[in-house]
Symmetry: C2
Amino acid sequence: MTPRLDAQMAFLTEACRLKSVNRATRLCDGSRYENSGEHSWHIALYALVLAEHAPQGVAIDRVIRMLLIHDLVEIDAGDAPIFGSHDATALQQDESAAADRIFGLLPADQAESLRALWEEFEANQTVDARFAKSLDRFQPPNQNLAAGGGSWTEYDVSYDRLVSRVGSKIAHGAPTLWDWINPRIRAFFGV
Amino acid sequence: MTPRLDAQMAFLTEACRLKSVNRATRLCDGSRYENSGEHSWHIALYALVLAEHAPQGVAIDRVIRMLLIHDLVEIDAGDAPIFGSHDATALQQDESAAADRIFGLLPADQAESLRALWEEFEANQTVDARFAKSLDRFQPPNQNLAAGGGSWTEYDVSYDRLVSRVGSKIAHGAPTLWDWINPRIRAFFGV
Ligand SMILES: [Ca+2]
């Protein structure tokens, strides 16, 4: 009998479905929409490479772990595009129910610790969560710049709206990265 | 001037192309081929969840880092399906040239340390590399079982060939995981 490993494998097989959740962002070459599985890989790699730009006190391996699991709830709740309109309360309820079901596939101790890590990410209060959230916001503009507009064009986004929805979060958790990308975004929007 | 960050961002934008490298393995629902970006995410999640099954001495955060970068060379060299036929020497040369170019986009110190981590993975000698390599071999059979055959059917793979190409590596680096999946694979092949 291997009930622990059985439960862990059921969770890992369920996680495969995140590769079928499409995001609003396109790949850097614009060829198709990005899915949340490959997105999670990419921003974990961002964390690894950009660790030196994290504010003091950030534990980068915790950030990487957080980013690996941050989108799993989308298997049930779907991706809510940052420039789309959605009911925030309903989304939070859907994501909470998704977390119950998906993390609940794991042995109880792991379900609890990974769910706590996801809630820490969502709450965006600790230095680790703030840096993780910044990277989650920082990657899409880079892909949009590479793709010549991407979801900005599709959602008819203005520079001001971008700053308020995305830029402010990047600036909060990773000011160096915002200082780097802001002039590039300005140049794209011609402002 | 931000030459370090410029170089890091050039690397991270180039890395996006790994999402366009298709593997021989299908998703768990069989709907399409998996790409190497989402595969890298999935096995990093395997490492996080299955850490307790790693042999003694394995540093799981190092394994996760290794898995995040292990396939980047495929951007230039492509994925070599485990049951396909390829010239091993030519592949090694292609991958080495790919590592020069891709890790070479980074600042020199990071290029060196991430390339060393990739070479450690490839050499498969340290406990961390052996566990990482085991997970890289362990995930596809799970997806094939979920998909009802997947690449085993497409490549007309036998149980014995699977054991020699895949099972032996899993058993070497993660015996607990091989003991778990082996009876399931046997049941699938009816042996
Ligand atoms: Ca590979």
